[in-house]
């Protein structure tokens, strides 16, 4: 056992290496992440385009949230932002629900020892594949297959089979949303499936064996064992997916005809990007972009702390509390008895 003095010497002599080793991360992170975040915060209190240097207080927030502001297009800006927020929510919801259900089903099937499935490894590999393809290319792939006119693969095939009118897979507001939900599910179900599988495989197999012996059928096992024990990983998946949904950009931005993105698919990320990506600060709406970014940041922070709260190690917290209590009691005792160390 090292004495207190020895321990102190060790701490003194090596601590500086610890700081040296983690310094590059913190320097780069502050320069390229923290400062841009603060700068976004500052920009959200400043004007747009030519009045970029003026301090306007909370006007950008009141414009995009409530449509009140001195600029001429305040109402239109608010409508665009709220529509983007709505689209984000619709697109996220529409891809998350089928995705989690499908992934959960597949994960349960793939981990079920009783099911004899040839080629399990191959299925896993193929189902994860869409996730590694460039999202921009995926958008291009689907646009080129599902084009609006009869000159594209899907509509051409359907019309060869006797359909009269081509389906507007890209320009119809509802169909295009469904397509984006489908493509998002296509992109992500393999990833979610593998995460859930590793969660299920982490469950003690003797629980399933015991349930089997007691005569529980597979759906009982699923609802009484798998699902409750999978809760932390489900919460994690839900929140990462929500945060990912708030960032949904490549696909909605690139799934379009012609030169411009489709307004029916405009998400918050597209709104932010489109507001500021027109050149220097003097040329673009950095104020609106900043305000929208900060709103997204606040939503993300709330979601993140929910996972953190739900996923914290409850045993460790209980132990810590106990230890503190014990320490207090010890101190009280020492005071009473006049003991010294």
């Amino acid at each position: 056992m090292a004495s207190a003095a020895q321990r102190r010497i060790k701490a003194i002599s090596y601590a500086k290496y610890g700081y040296m080793f983690i310094a590059p991360f913190f320097l780069v992170y502050c320069f390229f992440q923290i400062w841009p975040l603060i700068y976004t915060f500052i920009l959200s209190f400043k004007g747009n385009q030519s009045s970029y240097a003026d301090f306007v207080g909370l006007e950008n927030y009141s414009t995009i949230l409530f449509g009140k502001g001195s600029s001429a297009g305040a109402q239109a800006t608010q409508q665009e932002f709220l529509k983007a927020l709505g689209n984000t929510f619709i697109l996220w919801f529409g891809n998350f629900i089928p995705q989690i259900l499908l992934s959960l089903l597949l994960a349960v099937w793939f981990t079920d020892a009783k099911v004899k499935l040839p080629g399990k490894g191959f299925f896993k590999i193929v189902m994860y594949m869409p996730n590694i393809i460039t999202a921009a290319s995926v958008a291009a792939l689907y646009v080129n297959l599902f084009g609006d006119s009869k000159y594209y693969f899907i509509n051409g095939t359907l019309m060869n089979l006797g359909m009269e009118e081509p389906i507007k897979f890209i320009s119809d507001p509802v169909v295009s949303k469904i397509m984006v939900m489908y493509i998002q599910t296509w992109l992500w179900f393999g990833n979610t499936m593998i995460m859930l599988m590793s969660g299920i495989m982490g469950i003690n197999p003797s629980l399933f064996e015991a349930a089997d012996i007691d005569g529980a059928n597979s759906s009982q096992q699923f609802f009484k064992i798998t699902l409750p024990l999978l809760q932390p990983i489900m919460v994690y998946t839900l929140v990462t997916s929500m945060i990912g949904g708030l960032q949904m950009f490549d696909l909605p931005y690139l799934y379009h005809n012609g030169a411009n993105f489709s307004r029916d698919l405009e998400t918050v990320a597209v709104y932010i990007y489109y507001s500021f990506n027109k050149g220097t600060v003097a040329q673009a709406n950095y104020g609106y972009a900043g305000a929208a970014s900060i709103i997204i940041f606040i939503i993300t922070a709330i979601l993140g702390s929910i996972t953190f709260y739900m996923n914290r190690d409850k045993d460790a917290i209980a132990k810590k509390k106990q230890r503190k209590k014990a320490e207090k009691q010890m101190k009280a005792k020492m005071k009473q008895g006049g003991l010294t160390l």
């Binding site: 896993k124 393809i133 290319s137 000159y151 594209y152 593998i194 690139l254 500021f276 220097t280």
Partner: protein, 309 residues
């Protein structure tokens, strides 16, 4: 009460049930596999057809003969007697989708970011796990806390800041930030905590090895499995990153593969569907091929990432 009444039929057609269930699951899996693979197959098939053939009948299920011709259009390598409109198409595609340059730019960015990400994340994780210093747990909590902040949140400030620094149209803002990758650090810290014996550091100290050299020659080789997994993911993520690259790289010469694909998507005249498909194929194929070679590692890596704690 007899045994039968209490416990049901003794395993009546138990095997038949399992076979039926397995068959049903197998069919569902085959359908999903087709949904994943058929779009890619159709894409490749269509890139071997000429625009006029596709206009006549876009519903093609087998390879055509025009792959070379489409490729020549994309490379702007037309025969001298080609028509004016064909030349216009070739000029448009070859300037927007310069295959070689796109691959090179993407490779430079993805390669450099991957190297920086894994090296500095391993370094930071080593610092956090091996050394005991005052701000250790605070630093780790910070890293976990910022892990989930999306890039979109700070992108407006990031781009404005890069304009101020005159770093637009430069690879630096795309490469250097890779040094700070909180999620990778988190992964490496948990890997080191579970499988890196700290005694080895003590031993190398006694043998007179310097701290940094211990990290380079002992810790880094021992972390190879974690580094390999994270390197694959970092490479794929940066190869696919359209959002940041498109904000920073405005110059055509610096365009990466995703930017080029988005440009081809934006064409509204002189469109050649065969060449369109060829562009998308060229953007997808390298990563799909690499994926199938490394798929075992990748699947294992995703599974590892899923088990938090």
């Amino acid at each position: 009460m007899s045994m039968k009444q209490q416990y049901g039929q003794p395993k009546d057609n138990y095997h038949a049930k399992i076979i039926a269930k397995s068959t049903g699951i197998f069919i569902v899996c085959v359908i999903l596999t087709l949904l994943c693979l058929v779009p890619i197959y159709i894409l490749i098939v269509n890139s071997t057809h000429a625009h006029l053939d596709l206009a006549q009948n876009p519903s093609r299920f087998w390879f055509g003969k025009s792959l070379a011709a489409n490729f020549k259009t994309l490379m702007n390598d037309l025969p001298a007697d080609a028509g004016k409109s064909a030349k216009r198409v070739a000029a448009q595609y070859s300037s927007a989708f310069n295959v070689g340059r796109g691959y090179l730019n993407s490779l430079i960015i993805a390669g450099c970011t991957t190297g920086l990400t894994v090296f500095f994340s391993a370094l930071t994780a080593y610092g956090l796990v091996v050394y005991d210093f005052k701000l250790n747990s605070a630093a780790y909590t910070f890293i976990i806390g910022v892990m989930m902040i999306p890039v979109q949140v700070s992108s407006a400030g990031f781009v404005a800041f890069m304009y101020n620094l005159k770093l637009i149209n430069n690879f630096i803002p795309l490469i250097v930030p890779a040094i700070a990758a909180p999620a990778v650090i988190f992964f490496m810290v948990s890997y080191m905590k579970s499988s890196f014996p700290l005694d080895i550091v003590e031993a190398s100290r006694i043998d007179g090895c310097g701290e940094f050299r211990t990290f380079l020659t002992i810790a880094l080789p021992m972390m190879k499995p974690a580094i390999a997994v994270q390197a694959i993911f970092a490479f794929v993520a940066n190869w696919n990153n359209y959002y940041t690259q498109n904000m920073i790289l405005k110059n055509e010469k610096l365009a990466t593969v995703p930017i080029m694909v988005s440009k081809v998507l934006g064409f509204d005249k002189n469109i050649d569907n065969g060449v369109n498909f060829l562009c998308v194929t060229l953007s997808i194929l390298p990563i799909v091929v690499v994926y199938f070679i490394l798929s075992k590692f990748i699947i294992a890596g995703v599974a590892l990432g899923g088990v938090k704690e």
